[in-house]
């Protein structure tokens, strides 16, 4: 970022500043730039150019240091102790897209798995891509049950923005007509295999309220003209998405929103720029800009704009607000409610069931589908029949496949017989994990830690988050209902499981600057503006007032596009 000072001197004022370039920041950049605002995107991490900076995308399995691109334990322990907690993030194929824990520490009062990507594109390069709309079952839940505060918006407010986002990013999926999982603007769905189709008919035949559908995923299956114009093509079923995709087939900021924003001529993208605080102007009662530290030189500059979008991810946007104190905001920026940094939520998972499958030995597949089946929420839908002893619900994600060459190491026998057997695929197996909604709880919180500093000398976070009784009751049902469905499908050796889960491991952390109707109990208003400083918008996971049980990124994108539209209109009206 050597040119930042020059850049600041020559042109340090923009129409809009966006902090972060991930899923939300990329959307803010695209929408603001397309609507004519000179937009500066500040990204704390390094540059990652689409295709050119995907170093392992053409590496075959045998060309890695170790098989499966695995990383030796010593290296994990010294650099990636927390980032590796997923079991899949830190490999030689992908580790360059994650931060090093020794450079970016945080403290855990209770276990919290905070998986981060500091780079242009953020976690949009490595996300899970499952994309589901919320419904009013979700938006009305807090008000209906008297939990936390009411969402200040409903599905009708967001529906057109879901349309807008889905058309641009490309979401493949199957319309199901479920009121609690609204259909979107889908590209053609991926296929379920024969074992999954069997389970679908068995489950839907046995349980009236349950549906098995193919995952709705942000992969192009039939590119639009607009997608082709950006150089994006249909999914090639490599299933190595988290290395980056040369086909631009799944949605990432790098291949999509940032390119579109750049095409307007209104975008300035500045990597290696760590935003350390928001500058507040007490006379105008507006934010005037941000303070930025050069990640390489440590130099500090101030950059100014008429509107600021915080899209740094839920915990880091809250960190930035907590680190932005002034006479007006002694307890953190816009924190008159005291809710900043509280109500941390995730989706709790790693509980479900798996089974062996007899039959279909003469059937196989070609291609590696980057997707699985999805079983939408079927608990607590508002009727007596689906009511359970916990609030909210969960959905399942899973898949069926044939066993590979790894399958015989624990069995008896070796030599020619074993080798001959491994030439053919093994039996089919099937499994699923539930993703459950976590209730907002103000005691689940993050706080600023000035004693532990990161590689830039900045304060870090202390995280204190745990599951509550509602989640623990839900987890029992998440396991037993999975067992019930695999048994109803006639599968063999059905095994329920529950694995060690730490909040954050779902990588759906959210809730730290919630939206609400009342400035006394929430940080953001119905348009994602900070109640107490209207030209600052927070549109990433921090904004979430509750968690739903569906993957959240699509909703962050819709909220961001809606907020950008509001910001541009408000600027034109002279309100900001």
């Amino acid at each position: 970022m050597a040119n930042l000072n020059t850049l600041a001197r020559e042109k340090n004022t923009y129409d809009a500043i966006v902090v972060g370039s991930g899923i939300s920041g990329g959307w803010a950049a695209k929408e603001l730039a397309e609507k004519g605002l000179k937009t500066l995107v500040l990204e704390r991490g390094r540059q990652v150019r689409h295709i050119a900076d995907y170093p392992t995308v053409n590496t075959p399995p045998w060309a890695f240091r170790f098989p499966g691109a695995r990383v030796p334990q010593d290296e994990i322990d010294s650099r990636y102790a927390k980032q590796a907690r997923t079991g899949y993030t830190i490999t030689d194929a992908t580790k360059h897209f994650y931060i090093r824990d020794d450079q970016h520490p945080y403290s855990e009062t209770r276990r919290f798995d905070w998986i981060r990507s500091y780079q242009v594109g953020g976690r949009s390069l490595v996300w899970g891509r499952q994309s589901y709309r919320w419904s009013d079952l979700d938006f009305e839940a807090n008000a209906r049950e008297g939990v936390a505060v009411d969402w200040p918006i409903r599905y009708a407010d967001l529906a057109p923005w879901y349309d807008h986002v889905e058309e641009f990013i490309g979401v493949s999926g199957q319309a199901e007509g479920l009121p609690h999982l609204p259909d979107g603007r889908f590209q053609p769905p991926m296929d379920m295999n024969c074992v999954e189709k069997h389970m679908k008919s068995a489950v839907e035949g046995r349980f009236r309220e349950r549906r098995v559908t193919i995952g709705r995923t942000a992969h192009i299956t039939q590119p639009t003209e607009a997608q082709k114009a950006l150089g994006r093509t249909a999914c090639q079923h490599q299933n190595q998405c988290s290395r980056g995709c040369v086909f631009g087939a799944y949605f990432a900021s790098n291949s999509s929103t940032l390119l579109a924003a750049n095409n307007t001529g209104n975008l300035t993208l500045q990597p290696d720029a760590v935003v350390t605080s928001i500058i507040f102007d007490p006379v105008k009662n507006r934010a005037s800009g941000v303070r930025v530290r050069d990640a390489e030189t440590g130099d500090e500059v101030e950059l100014y704009a008429r509107v600021i979008f915080l899209c740094a991810s839920a915990l880091n946007s809250a960190w930035l607000m907590m680190n932005s104190t002034s006479n007006r905001f002694p307890d953190g920026f816009g924190n008159g409610s005291g809710q900043l940094g509280r109500n941390v939520m995730d989706h709790h998972f790693l509980v479900g069931a798996s089974a062996d499958v007899e039959g279909w030995e003469d059937r196989y597949y070609k291609g590696r589908r980057p997707n699985g089946f999805y079983i939408p929420r079927f608990r607590n839908l508002g009727d007596a029949a689906t009511k359970k002893d916990f609030l909210r619900g969960y959905g399942y994600q899973g898949g069926a496949s044939r066993q590979g060459w790894q399958r015989l190491v624990a069995e008896l026998g070796f030599g020619k017989e074993m080798k001959d057997e491994l030439m053919d695929p093994g039996a089919w197996t099937i499994g699923m994990t539930a993703f459950g909604e976590m209730l907002p709880d103000p005691s689940n919180r993050i706080t600023l830690n000035k004693d532990v500093r990161d590689m830039h000398g900045l304060p870090t976070l202390t995280i204190d988050v745990g599951l509550g009784d509602n989640e623990l009751r839900m987890r029992k049902d998440m396991q037993s209902a999975a067992v019930e469905m695999l048994e109803a499908s006639g599968f063999r050796n059905v095994r329920g499981y529950e694995r060690s889960y730490g909040p954050g491991l779902g990588i759906h952390e959210m809730g730290t600057a919630r939206m609400g109707r009342d400035p006394k109990t929430s940080v953001l208003n119905a348009h994602n503006q900070v109640h107490e400083c209207l030209n600052v918008y927070v549109t990433d996971g921090a904004a979430m007032t509750s968690a739903s049980c569906v993957n959240p990124s699509l909703t962050y994108m819709a909220l961001t596009a809606r907020a950008a539209d509001h910001a541009v209109s408000a600027l034109k009206r002279g309100e900001l």
């Binding site: 059937r363 597949y365 590696r368 060459w405 190491v409 026998g413 070796f414 695929p425």
Partner: protein, 205 residues
Amino acid sequence: MKETHPMTEDLIHRRAVLGRAASLLGGALSMSAVAGVLAGCAASPSPVADASPAGDPATARSAAIAVIADLILPRTDTPGAIDVGVPAFIERMMADYYRPEERRAFMAGLDRVDTDARATLGRPFLALSSGEQTALLERYDREAYDWARAGGEGATPFFRTMKELTTLGYFTSETGASKVLKYDPIPGAYEACIPYADVGRAWST
């Protein structure tokens, strides 16, 4: 920011440790057996053997690893473990990937094979016929199987590690993954449910 590779220094150290541990095996061994194995190994040089003068006991360790790997996945109408370089792969994993305690356990297992051969048949493992070697390994295979069935508590048996590494090295080698099994880097479509005969072999990935 420039990074130094953390493994480099460690790697040299670990190879030295492996060599020293190998010397514990020591003693008499059939040089003809070793020569035979190394001839088969020629296409895939062993880092340990390369670093050792001819006849060094470390060579015996390399030879035993190669013999066992090839008994686990022998040459049939497709290449065997030695053909695709599995012995060198196992040595590289032991030198560069495994931790010292895991490496020690593996070496102890390898030692036990030779000790058992001498105790029961009066000859070093490498001097046994393939049939005798197989019979000895079947004992370890049974132990590993029983251990897994009992829940897999405690240290992983040597033969389980050997079987895992042989399978892993074989099917993630270029030949094993793309010539023996099928590999398709860019499949294009996903065909969800087709006759197995249309594929004809297991996919490696």
